[in-house]
Structures are given as structure tokens and as C-alpha cells.
Symmetry: C2
Subunit: 156 residues, 2 copies
DNA sequence: CATATATGTAACTTCAGACATTACATATGA
DNA sequence: TCATATGTAATGTCTGAAGTTACATATATG
């Protein structure tokens, strides 16, 4: 009998997921969104927002304005931003939680093991990157619209 | 300019990699290998060996014998053990370090984001699992033999 | 210009999980 | 009996995302 992996929410890197979520909200907003407002949407802290958004600002996806009536503004259309773009903008977080015990071992057996592991991981990573590159935030926003219509239809 | 991911060795789950390494050594060994000997091979601690090998014992890949002349013995041929088998035996560790900020959000935008993220991750995971299932430890051992011959040829 | 409002950052703290280590119980062959 | 192994609980270590506090800086508005 093999144990199932733990089903609870553990310490995953949620930066990609969070920033996609926020960018779509920003696209829907009229004016700038403050870090405080964004933090409420994402159920987190304003500092976490600024910290993570910094990467998106550096690549020109958003702009930040200080002071009264300041906040964050989307600069590019969602059509031009892929999931992969966001992944890169948040610093290309490590993808896998599993990996090699020693990346450069003396033992030839371990070198052979590493070669097989690396090959498998690289193929999976390449597919993931390809998938992220194929989906734009606009496509996700469109999917949201579909879900929104569906939810309205079911609540009379 | 996008930052490269950190290149250092951080806390990856190395159980799959370690156990594959050890199983191949056990196949090459004459008698049982003690936890202490195994720990030296893997540059770790005997307790870590026992803890991780427990899963392999539970599925019948190895046997452990206590006391004098005891230790660990491989029970199945490497041909019959795939990387995936070992992955399952060590408890199917979590594969990804990235993931959803909230797996069950109220926000429909976030639900759409989650759907896209999950789709991409699931495809990558499926490919990884397929890759792990295609390679037996025997194939890795054979690759080791190739490397061993090559290393002998280059040292006169 | 003073002030409320925002962002920008540094400096913690918290948290989870693999791995490391110690300690001791238990089993077993010489 | 006793040295040798495994079995396992308990505890410490380490890493990085996320959370939090504190304060500096910038900027509309009265």
C-alpha cells in the first residue's frame, strides 16, 4: 500500500499564480490599484505585493506611482503577456521540489543516476515552459468571463 | 535583463536520487550492505538510510536483517525496478516547488488562473511520471558500465 | 508648506519539510 | 553474554517563501 502525497496546503511558491491573478484584476480596474487593495484581493500583505510586483515593474508590465492617487497600473495588454512572461518576471522560481542528492558526484554510479534523473526532469521542465508560453493572460481572462457568465446563469 | 535562477544546492528532496544510487550499489555488492556502509556511499547518516529504505522494504524491493552480518539486501532484479517504482516506494514526494496560492479560491479570476496553472503542471507531471516509468535501474546500471569503461580507457 | 497617502526596502519572524544527529530499544550471530 | 545491526522517537539544522514591522521617500491636496 502506497501512501498518497499529503493533500494539505504546504509551502509552495505562489508568486506566479498570485501575479497572474493580480494582473487580470488590474486589467479590469479603472484606475491604479494600491498595494493595500491588491493585498486584500490576494489575502496577503502589501509588502509582499510590492516585493513581488517589483519584478513585473522591472520588465515594464506595470508601473508604480507613489503618493496620493498612486498605486499600480497595467502598461501592456493581457494579450501580450504569457504565463511564461510572468514566470520570468517574478524571477524564474525553482520548478521542482525533487532533484539530485549531489549535482557533481565522484561516484560513477551516481553520475549515471544523475544523468537519468536530469534527463527526465529536463523534459518535464521543457514541457511546462512550453505550456506556460502558450497561454496568455488574455486567454485566462476570457476563461474567467465564461465562468462569470456561468455563475450568473445559475443564480437567478 | 532577467536574473538566472540561483545555482547553488538548496534543499531539494533527494530521496529518489539517493535510493536509486544505493540500489544499484546493492546489486553490485556480494553480501548485505549495512546502513553505515550505505551512509558512507551517500555521504549521509545511517539513520537517514534506514528511514528512507523503510519504504523500499515495505514494497519488497529490499530486505533488512538485524544483528551480526546483517544489513540490507536487494530482493528483486534491477530490470524489474523502474525509477517510478522507486519514486512511489519513497512516498511519492511532492514534485513541484511552484503551485497555486490558494487551491480553492472564491474569486472566479483566481479560479481561472488556477485552472490554467493546474493544466500546465499536470501535463508536466504526467510527462515526468512517464519518463520515470520508462527507465529501469538496470538501464542506469548499464549506463554506469559504459561510463566505467570510458573512464578506464582514459586512465592508462 | 504641511499632511495624508503610497511606494521602496531593510530587518526581522514564521513556517514547512528534508536532512542530520543523538539516544535508546530490540534482534541476532559468534 | 556481547558486539553488531536495525527500528524509531526526539531534537536540532538549514533554506526560502511568506508575513510583519519600521521607517525612508515621493507626491497630490488643502
Amino acid at each position: 500500500m502506497i501512501e498518497e502525497p499529503k493533500g494539505q496546503a504546504m509551502q509552495l511558491d505562489g508568486r506566479l499564480s498570485r501575479m497572474m491573478h493580480l494582473l487580470i484584476h488590474m486589467d479590469r480596474a479603472n484606475g491604479p490599484i494600491t498595494s493595500g487593495e491588491a493585498a486584500e484581493m490576494l489575502h496577503t500583505n502589501p509588502v509582499v505585493i510590492r516585493r513581488t510586483m517589483a519584478g513585473l515593474r522591472d520588465v515594464g508590465f506595470v508601473r508604480s506611482i507613489k503618493g496620493h492617487a498612486g498605486g499600480w497600473t497595467l502598461l501592456k495588454p493581457l494579450e501580450s503577456i504569457s504565463m511564461l512572461d510572468v514566470y520570468k518576471a517574478v524571477g524564474q522560481p525553482r520548478i521542482f521540489a525533487i532533484g539530485l542528492a549531489d549535482p557533481a558526484p565522484d561516484c560513477l554510479v551516481e553520475q549515471a543516476v544523475n544523468a537519468s534523473m536530469t534527463s527526465a526532469l529536463e523534459k518535464a521542465e521543457a514541457l511546462l515552459i512550453a505550456q506556460l508560453g502558450e497561454v496568455t493572460l488574455a486567454a485566462i481572462a476570457k476563461d474567467f468571463d465564461r465562468r462569470f457568465s456561468a455563475s450568473c446563469a445559475s443564480s437567478p
